[in-house]
Subunit: 436 residues, 2 copies
C-alpha cells in the first residue's frame, strides 16, 4: 500500500522529534500500522534555523497554508501552538477533508467545540493525544480503556515545570523564585512562566480531560485556577512534617449538582503513589466506578515523548482512514449528540479539606479564638500544631488541618480569623485532598 | 440503532461483574458506543447458584455451546478460564463470524496463535484487555498508545496475590506461609495457590505483553519462571535495610541477540514508583525509546475491575463491527504477517544484578574466599554487609549485592561458594533490577 504522506506545521522541538521518531522507527511503525508514514512537506518559521532533525527529502516552506493545501499531503500535523493561526490552518485542513493530529492544548481547550463540529460535518478525524500529559496515552486510556466506567473524579500532575519547581523546593529546601530561575536556565520554564506557574497550561489540559471523562463540553472558561507562585518553602516543610506533599493538581470531580473543575496547589498524603511523582514527570489518577483508581505516569513534555503521542495518533488515523466515521472513537469520548452540559460549580461551592498557616501573637487565648471561629462555621479540625517561636519574634506559626468544607465557608472563616488582633497578616490556605 | 446482543460464557465473579457494570452504566456506555449493549443469554455451571448480579431478562443455560450458537447473540464474552472447553467455544464463535471478548490469559498465552489465525481468516475480532492486569488498559496503552515507539523493555507487577503476600511480609515482618494462609482465607489466593505463587499466572500475562510490545509470537513455553515461595522475611528485611523492595516481576527485555522473558522475585530500588505499588494492586512499567518510561497502575483482579476491561473491549468491538478488518488494530499490535520470531534467550544468558545471602562461619578468611570466587568469575560487588551473629549460633549472615552478570556465570560462582567449607547450606540469590 502507498505510504501515508504527512504535512507538518511547525518544525521546532516537537516537530523535530516527530521527524526523528518517524524515521528512526519507520519499520516498527509500518509493521504496526500496515502502511508507511512519511513527512513530505513541513512549514517552519525560518528556513535557516538549526534543527534537531534531518530534513532530507522533506519540502520546506515558511508558509503553513502551502502545506495544508498541498494535494499530496494526506494528514496534517499541527505543532504551532496557540489559538491563531493554528485554528484557521486546522479548519482549512478539515474543509479539505484531511485528518488533523495536534499537540495544541490551548486550541482544543478553547476552540475544540468548533473544530470537532467541522470535523464531524466533514467526517474527518482530529486526534489530540499529545495535547495532554505529553507521551502518556491518557486520552486513549480514559476515552477507550475506561469506556465501561462512570468516571467519578480525576486528579493530575499535568504541568511538568510546576512539578519540577515543587520537587526542588521540597528536596532542597529552596525558595520558589530561586528554583524558577533555575528552571528557566535549564529550559524547563519559559521566559514568561505565567502559563506554567499560574496554572493556565494545567487548566487547558484539565478542560480536555474533564470533557472526555464526563462527556461534557469543553469549559476552559469555568476552571478555577490558582498557581504555585505563592507556595513558600515553609509550607512545603510543614506539609512534609505532617506526612503530606504539596503538588499542583488539576482536579475534576463529579458532584450531585454539577462538576468541580479546578487547578491549584494541593496537600496530598505522602503514601499515595501520585505524591511520589517527582521532577518534570506527569501523572493522572482516574477514579472509575467499576475499575476503582488507576494511574498513568510518564514524561509530560519534551521532543520525543510528545512525538510518541503524535505518532500514536498518526497510526490511529491511518488505521481508520477508510473506516465509516460513525464507527470511530468519538473525539470527546461520547457521541457528539450525547454531550451533557453539566453545570460547573463556582469555586465557592467546591469542597476540600484545608491546610491553614497563621502567624499568631505568642499570648494566651489566641488558639481559643481561632478554633471558636472554625467551630462556629461548622469546620472540623483534623490537627493543630503550634510551632516554636523564633528567638527575636513575638509571633508563632500555627498550622491547622481541617476536614472537608465548602470553600465559601472557609473563606469567610479565614476573613474572621484575619480580623483577630492577635493574628498578623494573611492566613495561608492550601487545599488538601485525600485522593482515595 | 439496534442494541448489540451479548452472550456470556461464565456467570461467576467476573461474569456477574460484567452484568452489573453493563446494567448500572448502560446509559453512559451507550452514550460512548453509540449503541446499547445488552446481555441476552448466559451459560453458568449451575442454574441455582447464588449470583452477585440480577439475571432478569437474561436467558440462562448450563450449556455454553447453546449461547455461542444462538443466532441472536452478536458477540461472545468468554469468562470460563482455562484452555478447554474455552478454546473450542471461542473457535466455534469465530467460525460463526462472531467477535469474542475474553479475560482468559492462559487461553491467549497458550492458544493465541491458533485463535488469531481463525479470527483473521474470518475477519472477526478477538479482544483480550481483561487478560492482563485486570482493569488497567495496558494492552491498549502498549498496542496503540505507544505505537510510535520501539519498546526496549517492560516490567510488571502482574499478579495481585503475590504482591499482597510480599507487601504483608514487608509491612508486618511475617513469614510467607503465614501470609499465604491469610490470603487464602481472604479469597485473594486460590486453594491451590501454585498458579499465583509459582509465577505461572504472571508468565501467562508476560507472554501476552511481550508479544504486543515486541511484535513476536506468543512464547509461553520459553518464559523463565520462578515464584515467591522461597522468599524469607529475613531477605525482605535485609533488602529494606539496603534501600530495596522485593517485588515479583514479569520482565521482557530486548537484547541484541534476542529477548529475555522471565518472571521472578526482584529487588528494586525503593525510590522507583513501581516499588511502592502495594497489596493486590498491579502496575506495568514500559520503556519506549521515544517516550521513555511510562507506568500504568490499578486493580489487577476482582469482579468490577475485570468487568471494566471486558466492557471497554465490548465498546471497541461495537465501534468496529462494520469496519474493514484491514483497518482495525491488529490483535498482537503488529500486522499478522509482520511478526518477528525473536529468539528467547535461555535463563543462563539473562543478565541481572544479584542479591546474595550466605551463612558464613564466623572466622577469618571467609569473606576473602567468597570475594575471590566472585572476582575470578568477573562479578563486581556493589555492596557487602556482614550482619551480627546471634548469640547462640556460630554462623553470620553475609549479604552481597553484585553488579550485572550473566546468570550462568553467577550460578557457577554460587556453586563454588557453596562448596567452601566455611559456608553453611545454600546461597540465597534474588535477582535485582535498577529499572532505569
Amino acid at each position: 500500500m502507498k505510504p501515508v504522506r504527512v504535512g507538518l506545521l511547525g518544525l521546532g522541538t516537537v516537530g523535530g522529534g516527530v521527524v526523528n521518531v518517524l524515521s528512526r522507527n519507520a519499520k516498527e511503525i509500518a509493521r504496526r500500522a500496515g502502511r508507511e508514514i512519511e513527512v513530505i512537506h513541513a512549514a517552519a518559521r525560518r528556513l535557516d534555523a538549526p534543527r534537531i532533525c534531518d530534513t532530507t527529502g522533506i519540502r520546506l516552506t515558511t508558509d503553513p497554508l502551502e502545506v495544508v493545501n498541498n494535494p499530496d499531503v494526506d494528514v496534517v500535523v499541527e505543532l504551532i501552538g496557540g489559538v491563531q493561526p493554528a485554528l484557521s490552518l486546522v479548519a482549512r485542513a478539515l474543509e479539505l477533508g484531511k485528518p488533523v493530529v495536534t499537540a495544541n492544548k490551548a486550541l482544543i481547550a478553547k476552540e475544540g467545540a468548533e473544530i470537532f463540529r467541522l470535523a464531524h460535518a466533514r467526517g474527518v478525524q482530529v486526534a489530540f493525544e499529545a495535547a495532554v500529559a505529553g507521551g502518556i496515552p491518557i486520552i486513549k486510556a480514559i476515552r477507550e480503556g475506561l469506556a465501561g466506567n462512570r468516571i467519578e473524579w480525576l486528579a493530575g500532575i499535568i504541568n511538568g515545570t510546576g512539578n519540577f519547581i515543587l520537587t526542588e523546593m521540597r528536596d532542597k529546601g529552596r525558595d520558589f523564585a530561586d528554583v524558577l530561575a533555575e528552571a528557566q536556565r535549564l529550559g524547563y520554564a519559559e521566559a514568561d512562566p505565567t502559563f506554567d506557574v499560574e496554572g493556565v497550561d494545567a487548566a487547558h489540559k484539565l478542560t480536555i480531560l474533564a470533557a472526555i471523562a464526563f462527556g461534557m463540553p469543553l469549559r476552559f472558561d469555568a476552571v478555577g485556577m490558582e498557581g504555585i507562585s505563592r507556595i513558600t518553602r515553609e509550607d512545603v516543610a510543614y506539609a512534609e512534617e505532617l506526612g503530606y506533599r504539596i503538588k499542583h493538581l488539576g482536579i475534576a470531580r463529579r458532584r450531585e449538582n454539577g462538576v468541580e473543575l479546578r487547578v491549584h496547589p494541593t496537600l496530598i498524603p505522602e503514601r499515595r503513589l501520585i505524591a511520589n511523582v517527582d521532577g518534570v514527570k506527569n501523572a493522572v489518577l482516574v477514579m472509575g466506578d467499576a475499575v476503582g483508581p488507576t494511574l498513568y505516569y510518564g514524561a509530560g513534555a519534551g521532543a520525543e515523548p510528545t512525538a510518541s503521542a503524535v505518532v500514536a495518533d498518526l497510526v490511529d488515523v491511518v488505521r481508520t482512514l477508510t473506516a465509516d466515521p460513525d464507527h470511530r472513537v468519538p473525539h470527546l469520548a461520547f457521541q457528539p449528540d450525547q454531550l451533557d452540559d453539566l453545570p460547573v460549580l463556582p469555586m465557592g461551592e467546591v469542597e476540600t479539606a484545608y491546610y491553614l498557616r497563621l502567624a499568631a501573637a505568642d499570648q494566651p487565648g489566641v488558639l481559643a479564638d481561632v478554633t471558636r471561629i472554625l467551630a462556629d462555621a461548622g469546620i472540623s479540625i483534623e490537627a493543630i500544631i503550634q510551632k516554636e517561636a523564633a528567638e527575636d519574634v513575638a509571633v508563632v506559626p500555627v498550622i491547622i488541618l481541617t476536614h472537608r468544607v465548602r470553600e465559601a465557608d472557609m473563606m469567610s472563616a479565614i476573613a474572621r480569623i484575619e480580623a483577630l488582633p492577635a493574628i498578623e497578616g494573611e492566613v495561608t490556605r492550601i487545599r488538601m485532598e485525600a485522593l482515595s
